[in-house]
Amino acid sequence: MISPAPAASRGLGRLTLDVRQDLSPWKQTAFVGSSLVFGLAISLAILAAAGIPPLTLASELAAVLTAENLRGVLVQAAPLILVGLGASLAFRIGFWNLGIEGQMIFGGIFAAAISIYDVGPQATRLLLMGSAAALGGALWVLLVVFLKRRFRVNEIIATLLLNYVAMYFLFHLLYGAWQDAKTAFPQSSPLRPFERLGDIGYGINSGLLIAIAGVLAAGWLIHLSRIGFYTRFISANPRMAKIVGVPVQAATLWIIAASGACSGLAGFVNVASQEGRLTQSYANGYVFSGVLIAFLSRNDPVVVAVVGFLIAVLFITGQTLQVFYQIPLTMVQMIEAIIVMAVASSEFLIRHRIRWLR
């Protein structure tokens, strides 16, 4: 019954893989850094193939970083930082919030509703719009929490699908009741001056202040507060957390609501600063940007601010390339994806030890 034994494969050796418990932070940084460089090199190669040689890219990048363009970068950084916070808060407790665009859309819609229905006095109008936007984003994500808890609906699929639902709802408004009668474009009437996020001097938009306030609040929440301590246990071992008395359900709910609120605020910032009105596309391309920023910053709110700024540079460069070289803006998304893949791959080397045994 037994087949004859094969010739012993002596001397060939065997590749083995262990799970590593610990690696010095220095080596970890080196692995992540080199993979980041690798990812960027691939991106450069693809851009070169698409007709943007590295030198051209370098000069465009230099142009983006000049004082006047930096203003645009900072305006762009605000929503990116906010979606990065939104994603990282949710990922901290292992909730895959991929509904950032939907939450941004509802943030924008709620804020615009305050303007359209002329709610509240002028002086507090912006505050009201911001609060409404945070509420809109939070409600849209809490819908998914409800579906997950009550019907065990997978949040990855639910949040992604609800992005499409939110988008078509926005279209429904923009091609219908909320359409600007003057232009007949699919957009709302412009916000009034006191409903806009303006400059606060030095070319800095007040949207950035909202983002910085968000970073500080999230940083406090995660690093100092009691709920932040709980989140660490909820993500590391939810079953154990429950046994030792961590209020898992309540803490999860608050963190996810905060995540949705951040995304809602990002929608508000885009509507009230860059666009000045509700448009079709103010939330486009933010889901994966949020994932990327959260991933690269290892869900740390303070690092989110730095990474958010760098991704803003990428965004603005992408817009330049679109205008002058007809490179579609989806290129930005592709580079983001390459960076995530490269950095995630470095985790393999951090977590595993590979050996060749003879």
């Binding site: 083995t16 100092l224 660490r232 590391a236 154990m240 046994i243």
Partner: protein, 500 residues
Amino acid sequence: MASALKLVGIRKSFDGALALDGASFESRAGEVHALLGENGAGKSSLMNVAAGLYAPDAGSISIDGVPIALSGPAAARQHGIGMVHQHFKLVKPFTVAENVLLANPRPHFASGIRNIRAAIEKQVGELKFSIDPDRRIETMTVAEQQQVEIVKVLVGGAKILILDEPTAVLTDAEAVGLLEIVQRLARSGTAVVLVTHKLQDVKRFADAVTIMRGGKTVATLDPRKSSAEELTELTVGQTLPLPVRTPHQGGPTKLNVGALCYTRGDGRTMLNNTSFHIRAGEIYGIAGVSGNGQAELAEALIGAIEPSSGEIWLDGTGDISRASQAKRREAAIAAIPADRYTYALAGSLPISDNLAVAQIRSGRYGGLIKLDRAAMRRDAATAVKDYDVQGVRSVGQKASLLSGGNAQKLVIAREFSRQPQVVVAHSPSRGLDARACAAVHQRLIAARERGAAIVLISEDLDEVLSLSDRIGVMSRGAIVGEFERPADRQAIGRAMVDHG
């Protein structure tokens, strides 16, 4: 007789930690050769090397005197090595025949299944087993699954049969039945390796025994010519005295478990009117064959699952079977679960956080706004010292870096920091060496002396017998008999089987 399987100077490390340190082993055809050692001594690792699952860092393997190199489990099988793992390697939704076919591939599926079914029936007949080739694994008992594993290996024509802790999940009677079959297999020319930590199995069934300790093979002897004391000393390294205990006082009832029922998600009833009570200053041991509801009872007591009916009544608090964790904590229930990294520790978080987490709500480390990290670290340093947790470079290091015994001490340090009224301990010494095990037992006795009520759930009958004031035997989700100390081992064994 000539050597069948020979391992020389095997070394193996995982992530830098040495699991096997130059271990050597030799078994012969026609013999049952026991590999004896404590948990964590390296027995399973050594046999996983022989089965081709682990690649050794150094050392040589030979079969029938011919040196070989194993490129993987398939190569080991072709050399006639078959291993029945402690945690069965069976695909649950597959049938018996499909599982056997997976391990013994045939060119075509349909004809392969027919061929395999015939081979299974032949083996089943010879071994007097009772398994149906077309039944799905998930519908079978643990003992039946073990039979499938043995048949699977024998259908492959194994000449060297390795059994890793085969009796751990069986009743005493089932274990004897299995080992007799194994002995018969050896008599017919198979080389059998019996990995175990049970001395009585070795004394009764083995023709030779090799003892492992700390990743090394320390001796090979004839078990019939060596005394139990000699074997124990070689296994443990040192013998430790049991802690002193005062006679039981019989205090007021502290915890009353009444008609507890629980049905698992897959429809199996795991707790079926479980009832017992514990008095203050008493250790109540729960004995039984693994899988008779002990795990679910422990989970219900620590609040990991919610029973479908029944009550857990606690003196001064009332029914806590559906109470929040906060309320349980207030009632000072300490939980020492069997699986530390499932219910007791977050391995990726620092030691200090793991110690502090249970007391965050009490406000000991600051309010909602800001936590006092320095106080956490201070308390952690004290606890690590008080409970003799070894291998701690800093309280900021990950808990998963601790060895099993020290991780268990960490759990106990946290759970005992609030003078518990009730202690729920499930297999508290599983996977620990003799010294750590003694330390854990000492803590349980000390809590008893302080007047706590202690539930000790363990599949290790010796542990239950040596620590308990009273023993309840659990079978099919219910307590089927109670015994006062000093309890009769035979009677307990019968109670475990009669209803199981």
